[in-house]
């Protein structure tokens, strides 16, 4: 997955989001070691301090675990990753529902719409 950064929002927040996706998609496997700040910054073409800030936040939330001598690792806590996945799904769903509401669909219409699409 390539790093995609948009212009209108803070860079570190977008870095956090993209690392979330990488963990969920398994590109960064649970329990594996994360590349160094410098390598990640070069890969994403961002300032190393900004990447550092994103990783610190991820550490704070527990998704990354730091081992003082050997670097940063993705959490081994599968339930935490699962929980993050559900949260992201919920977020996507809410965005989707809001968009449909803007287009003038009622809740009932949305329901039939979804059922038809999934079938």
């Amino acid at each position: 997955m390539a790093w995609e950064l948009k212009n209108d929002r803070p860079i570190y927040i977008q870095l956090i989001e993209q690392i979330h996706y990488r963990i969920i998609s398994g590109e960064y496997e649970s329990g594996s070691k994360l590349p160094s700040v410098r390598d990640l910054a070069a890969e994403a073409s961002v300032n190393p301090n900004t990447m550092q800030k994103a990783l610190s936040e991820l550490e704070h939330s527990g998704l990354l675990v730091t081992n003082r001598t050997s670097g940063r690792f993705i959490t081994e806590d599968q339930s935490m990753i699962q929980k993050m996945k559900l949260e992201l799904a919920k977020e996507q769903l809410e965005n989707f529902l809001e968009q449909l509401k803007k287009l003038g669909f009622s809740d009932e219409e949305v329901k039939t719409f979804i059922l038809e699409s999934v079938r």
């Binding site: 950064l5 212009n7 209108d8 929002r9 803070p10 860079i11 570190y12 927040i13 410098r38 910054a41 070069a42 994403a44 073409s45 961002v46 300032n47 190393p48 301090n49 900004t50 800030k53």
Partner: protein
Amino acid sequence: MNPLLECNTLSKRYGSVTALSDINLTLERGRIIGLLGPNGSGKTTLIKLINGLLVPTSGQIMIDGTKPGIETKKIVSYLPDKTYLNNWMKVKNLLDFFGDFYDNFDKKRAYDMLEKLHINPNDSLKTMSKGTKEKVQLILVMSRNADLYVLDEPIGGVDPASRDYILDTIISNYNENSTVLISTHLIADIENVLDEAIFIQNGRITLQSTVDDIRVKEGKSVDAYFREVFKC
């Protein structure tokens, strides 16, 4: 520890024209900073003061606690807006020249960068395009192990692919002891690489802020914000 760069009520006048007026500015180590402003706002004047090519009309400028001079030139690596290199020289001669001049010049790093950018060390400057000349100059400047890198319009004449390589070089060259100050108009290209942006307008500093703080506060990129602030 002294800040890497400190300006106190720094002013510079050319005759009756005021180029810089009452600048107070502190730069810490370990940052990549954009010096952003429209033409004639005072960017190059500030950069020349940092490098001791101009002397202040009033106020003072200190680099690591010392006034600009021989000692500070050892720790400041400067890319001027115009070239001063001899056209007849070959790239490899220029590398030797820089190696003689500066203790902290890393010739191996320079040769690595030349190779990456497909520049032949046996070519002389006069056979090169404007963009390639700029690349050579930038390689010379970035191959020093300096504390402060001051780059005056470093990517203007360079194609986008090389621009990416140069920005990667700045990122991978990053260390917490040194700071890179980049003056440019091409904000969108370098915005993601910057910690901080400094806006300079009519010889005054109107903003010093981190890129992400600007994005949070203004809800737009530094590039878009710049266009708004300096709208003609």
